[in-house]
Amino acid sequence: MQLKIYLWVLLCFVTLNAISQSKIDKGKHKVGDVEIDILSSYYEQEGDHSAVEGGNGTQTLSDKVLSVTLSVPVDSVNIFDMSVSADTYSSASSDHIDGVGSYAVLSTPSSHDLRAYGNLAYSRINRKGKTLTIGAGFSSEFDVKSTSMLLGFAKESEDKNRELSVHVKGYYDKWKLIFPTEYRLNSSSFNLPDVRKTVSSDLSFAQVINKKLQALFSYEFTYQNGLLSTPFHRVYFNDGEDIYTRTGSIEKLPDYRSKHAFGVRISSFPFDWLIGRFYYRYYFDSFGIKAHTLNTEVPLKITRFFSVYPFYRFYSQTAADWFRPYGEHDLSQEFYTSDYDLSNFVSNKIGIGLRLSPPMGLIHLRSNSGNRSSSLKGLELRFAKYYRSDGLRSFIISSNLSFGF
């Protein structure tokens, strides 16, 4: 797995070097810089409603991500964008797939896994403001391999004050079904598919309203079919008093799901040093979940090239139709889950970020011959704390180093 990651990164840099040489050979044709972003993050969460244990167990989890993205303008009309990422996560709840309580088969350190994923997209822009994009992606971890395709189209008005865009994306996921120990001997009786197919399409319209205000309206529809439950999520029914007397099973959900999301973004600067960024989304799906998201960010420009931005996000959702807390499912139910991610809750996220990006970069280098230059264009740091009303809490620290060549 690590060898595959190294090969992907090597492929990216070889491609970058070849295209950079090509850019130089074109001589007088000025194109944009080749841009490389190195992003990283560390995430940690705590909670007491693990779905692996039927909604009652540790949700301790940590995740580290490293991502490299490249944007390579070959010329004024053709652009390649690619990214390669890897994240390693450890999950205390995953350690309990192999048994709960006195059914525990073994006791091990927290389970951990490595996920590698990447995307490659090609965009072509014509002089009439039309952009066509095609792309593909992959993701790989222990129990799921995923491939994706992307097709996009955007049209900008002549005065560049409005843009309409539409994208369609498809995912094909192949799962390795992992069942709790106590159900592995008769796992075939659950008759679960090992494939999930997802198609999503989004439509967005951006409009400049005046010299200080612009907005974007978006709608996204998603349809999923296949394995939508997680085989190692346990559920317990209300026909007993404790884990030893209650009937148990694994999570069971419908094999299809449709999602609708409507979003609006507004950006405005009442003063040159103060910006307001607002986002609202209304969501509903065939699982019965209805959700509201409200995000507010207030960047303060300390100087023209240094900004600090505090932000706050509020989220609320209703429960999926088949969610019940630990031990409260009825045997007459057709579908059942005790995954608290599908429960009724509100969440709050608060944080702060800073961004430094002077026009000549933080560090600027020029080759001895003077015909090539590179720079560390910018630095961004971000910290956020997240609180969910069922007790789950987390924090995340992330950074971005931007380079130009």
């Binding site: 992003l39 969460q45 692996v52 991500v65 999950s91 996920r115 994923y117 993701s139 971890e141 129990d143 995923s146 994706s148 995912y171 094909y172 996921d173 999930r196 997802t198 999503s200 989004d202 951006a206 200080k212 612009q214 907005a215 974007l216 978006s218 996204e220 998603t222 997680t230 999602k259 999301a261 979003g263 973004r265 950006s267 600067f269 003063f271 040093w273 960024r277 989304r281 969501y283 699982f287 979940i289 959700a291 998201t293 420009k301 931005y309 989220y315 959702q317 999926a320 991610d341 969440s347 970020g353 961004e380 971000r382 956020a384 997240y386 789950l392 987390s394 992330s398 950074s399 971005n400």
Partner: protein, 44 residues
């Protein structure tokens, strides 16, 4: 200050993708923000 300033972009910041990712796993809703809506990670 102009409409095309980096802080005025009508899209998520690059760094927000990590938060959008965990929010799409820890919450039922997703979509209409440039985040993940399906496929890939089996994180729990």
């Amino acid at each position: 200050m102009y409409l095309n300033d980096e802080e005025m972009k009508l899209s998520q910041r690059s760094l927000e993708q990590f938060e959008t990712s965990f929010e799409s796993y820890r919450e039922g809703a997703s979509g209409a923000e440039g985040g993940k809506t399906g496929g890939g990670c089996g994180c729990n």
